[in-house]
């Protein structure tokens, strides 16, 4: 009996599939584009798959068949879609499906369909729970908390996987956001009142920050983790980004506290690795979001713009607001030089837009930025030579 390692015997050789007449792939013309020399197993499984789809069969054995097709081609979106349709139609239990998905997701991290199917399963679990008033024990296995644990284990193996991070954000936005009409409390075994639910949600955000910190601890240059941190702090609880972009309201005290905490945290991380573009992009993002001028960080930035001599050393009094570069740092750090030049340029811009400013002081500020850009273009960041020359050029136009 012909068989393949992954999917067992061919469907054509299985007596329980005798009632199905397989439908071979549509006969293509003489010059098809990129025809695939299908393996026997793939041809067999998809021939049977087309046949059951045409017949509209929604049954447990179709779950097995779609699994075979998916194992042979995880990007087969029709097989995924049909599989979901079967699950809904026959009210198939979700826990075993979820377990299978854990295996498939781990093997096919970069396939869109793997993650999309998971979303549908979680939404279906939530639906079944709300319809059964929490009685559907099978669906509880798909709790958002379990899901976050699974995603964390996947991210430990592939720390920057885009789909996985995007999926984590979706889980959080769907089940832990006050803006969503779904809540993870649907999955909890003991009922919560509104106050408890909100406290629980906040504690989850703390857990999430701790998770991001563990990821950044493993790799401080993991930009996906930095982005996630921004999402947790400024999008998930309240949409601070929206608030800032549209100037709809002042930041409340809690939001101001988060901004302060994030600035301190990022400075510490910059001190550990002064050339880490991810941390610099993050601190810039936080400052811009909170509309805090870059110049507020001048005394922090300066030690990073000089050559060696000002690194942290054990005998020094530690200034918590302005942590010094670690002793192993490669200084000056180009992102710090860029930041300092930006401070001067932004100050000049602020002066220029202020009514009674003098042209001379604007120029003075810009004149301080130009040599920094020049040092970047000639010494410290020659890859972006043209960009730094462009910045100098713009400043010179303003000065003349």
């Amino acid at each position: 009996m012909a068989k393949t390692e992954e999917t067992g015997p061919l469907y054509a050789a299985r007596p329980e599939w005798k009632d199905i007449t397989p439908i071979p792939q549509y006969a293509e013309n003489a010059n098809p584009i990129a025809p695939i020399f299908y393996t026997e197993a793939y041809k067999d499984a998809t021939d049977y798959f087309r046949a059951v789809v045409k017949a509209g069969e929604l049954s447990p054995r179709v779950l097995e068949l779609t699994e075979s097709v998916i194992r042979l081609n995880p990007a087969h979106y029709s097989a995924w879609q049909y599989r979901y349709k079967v699950i809904v139609a026959i009210n198939s239990p979700l826990a075993p499906e979820h377990a299978l998905m854990n295996e498939l997701a781990t093997n096919h991290l970069k396939t869109y369909q793997v993650w999309h199917h998971r979303r549908l399963l979680l939404l279906l679990a939530a639906k079944r729970l709300s319809e059964s008033k929490g009685e559907d024990k099978d669906a509880i296995a798909l709790s958002p908390e379990t899901e976050l644990g699974f995603i964390a284990s996947v991210l430990k193996k592939d720390e920057k996987n885009y789909h996985t991070w995007a999926f984590r954000q979706w889980v959080l936005a769907t089940f832990f956001s006050p803006l969503s009409n779904l809540s993870s409390t649907l999955f909890s075994t003991s009922p919560m009142n509104e106050e408890e639910a909100s406290a629980y949600r906040l504690s989850m955000l703390d857990d999430e920050i701790a998770f991001v910190e563990s990821m950044l601890h493993a790799d401080i240059r993991n930009n996906s983790a930095w982005n996630h941190r921004f999402f947790i702090n400024f999008k998930l609880g309240t949409d601070v980004v929206m608030k800032s972009t549209h100037n709809v309201a002042e930041f409340d005290n809690e939001e101001k506290d988060i901004v302060g905490r994030e600035l301190s945290y990022t400075k510490e991380k910059i001190a550990l690795a002064p050339n880490n573009a991810s941390a610099w992009n993050y601190i810039r993002g936080v400052l811009e979001l909170a509309k805090i001028p870059f110049s507020s960080l001048t005394s922090f930035v300066l030690p990073y713009t000089r050559s060696h001599g000002q690194e942290a050393d054990d005998d020094q009094i530690i200034d918590l607001d302005n942590p010094l570069p670690s002793s192993s740092s490669d200084l000056p750090a180009p992102p710090a030089l860029e930041f300092l030049a930006d401070i001067y340029e932004r100050d000049a811009e602020t002066l220029r837009s202020a009514e009674q400013s003098e042209q001379a002081t604007v120029k003075e500020k810009l004149q301080k930025a130009i040599p920094i850009w020049r040092s970047l273009s000639e010494d410290h960041d020659v890859t972006r030579k043209k960009y730094w020359e462009h910045r100098i050029h713009i400043a010179q136009i303003t000065c003349s």
């Binding site: 584009i33 789809v53 879609q81 049909y82 982005n227 573009a277 993002g285 890859t383 043209k386």
Partner: protein
């Protein structure tokens, strides 16, 4: 490496892509649901190397055109459950992998002949047209200089309508699957070629695009996702192809624009290539996504194009084609995008000889200027 010895191995790249057009090994079964896209990368690479006519026969090119037209569908109603919406959808499927009707020559001869365009009916819930594949199929037909007489424009418009979501985004197939900026871009590119935006809600789509802007200055695939080169290209190109009346809504603020430029420039690594995300290693495809994004912002001059070309030179495989990084296995996707990057970020002289001359590329549609012109002239609804 001595200057004067650098060659862009166009002939080998063309041969590599031609081989894929003729067949893919069974171990790449995943290609089954994206054959029209693979066809586009291969035909696009032949177009860019200007070797399509000399490397392939007229009969082959005609056959490929016919094959693409075989993928045009005439699907049943958008929502079978509602009686009010009786519109059918058109567009193209990725290939015949879910096609279940009989080929025409097997049909009974007593069926009446019609003058209708040759489009097969399909059940869109099981064999749907696909937005990205529709975009790649149209561009492939333009590369093959088809006259588009057979294009079902109403069907394409209905597909656009059927795939747009309430938040302005688009799914790839009607009513199913994920929605993100890749599909927004392909929808916008199709509207641009048709010169017809009536089927979609442009304003909502622009709001969706802007929701994907991140604190770093790039765009993510979906709101709050990490900034990445591909989505950033999709968003910037989308914002640029809209008709004039949407130009002000589609423009970024000057601060946003500067931040985007900064982030894109930051992605060029010391080896000359581009990474797609902050602090990642260079990958050949981002030489296009980031390079074209800068071109779209009219800031192509900020790129060190010679360093970029050096990196791509190193990504060439001896068997032809480009891999994502030096010594990596080549594939049609990275081959096409590497050539497209070189066509945009042009290098000549000082070590880069005649072989580096490539036709000009339209950064918005991602096709040679001639092919883009052909597409726009022939798709425009009269």
């Amino acid at each position: 490496m001595s200057l004067g010895s650098l060659k862009l191995n166009k002939g080998a790249h063309a041969n590599f892509c031609k081989r894929f057009l003729f067949g893919i090994p069974g171990t790449f079964a995943e290609a089954d649901s994206s054959r029209a896209a693979i066809g586009f990368y291969c035909l696009g690479a032949l177009d860019l190397t200007e070797l399509l006519e000399s490397k392939t026969k007229v009969t082959e090119r005609d056959g490929w055109r016919e094959w693409i037209w075989e993928q045009q569908v005439r699907g049943n109603t958008v929502s079978p459950s509602s009686d009010t919406n009786q519109e059918y959808v058109g567009g193209f499927r990725p290939g015949p992998f879910m096609r279940m009707d009989e080929p025409p020559n097997l049909k009974h001869s007593d069926e009446p002949e019609t003058d209708e365009p040759v489009v097969s009916t399909s059940d869109i819930s099981t064999d749907p047209p696909h937005l990205i594949m529709t975009y790649t199929a149209i561009l492939s037909l333009a590369i093959l200089r088809d006259d588009f007489a057979r294009l079902d424009r109403v069907g394409v418009r209905n597909l656009l309508r059927a795939t747009q979501q309430d938040d302005g985004s688009f799914t790839a197939t009607p009513g199913q699957g994920e929605a993100d900026v890749r599909m927004v871009y392909t929808a916008f590119a199709i509207c641009n070629m048709l010169d017809d935006w009536s089927a979609i809600d442009v304003e909502k789509a622009i709001i969706f695009i802007k929701s994907c802007y991140t604190y770093e200055g790039g765009f993510g695939q979906y709101a709050a996702n990490e900034a990445t080169g591909g989505p950033t290209y999709c968003c910037l190109a989308s914002l640029r192809v809209v008709p004039k009346e949407y130009a002000s809504q589609a423009s970024l603020t000057e601060e946003q624009r500067q931040k985007t430029i900064r982030w894109l420039v930051q992605n060029q690594r010391s080896g000359g290539g581009f990474c797609g995300r902050t602090e990642k290693v260079a990958d050949a495809c981002y030489s296009f996504w980031c390079g074209a994004a800068l071109k779209i912002l009219d800031e192509g001059a900020l790129i060190e194009e010679r360093a970029n070309a050096h990196f791509l030179y190193r990504c060439q495989a001896s068997v032809g084609g480009f891999g994502k990084e030096p010594d990596d296995r080549p594939d049609p996707y990275h081959t096409y995008l590497s050539l497209a990057s070189l066509a945009l970020l042009r290098v000549r002289g000082d070590g880069f000889d005649e072989s580096w001359a490539l036709p000009r590329l339209d950064p918005l549609l991602n096709a040679t200027e001639e092919t883009a012109k052909w597409a726009r002239e022939h798709l425009r609804s009269n």
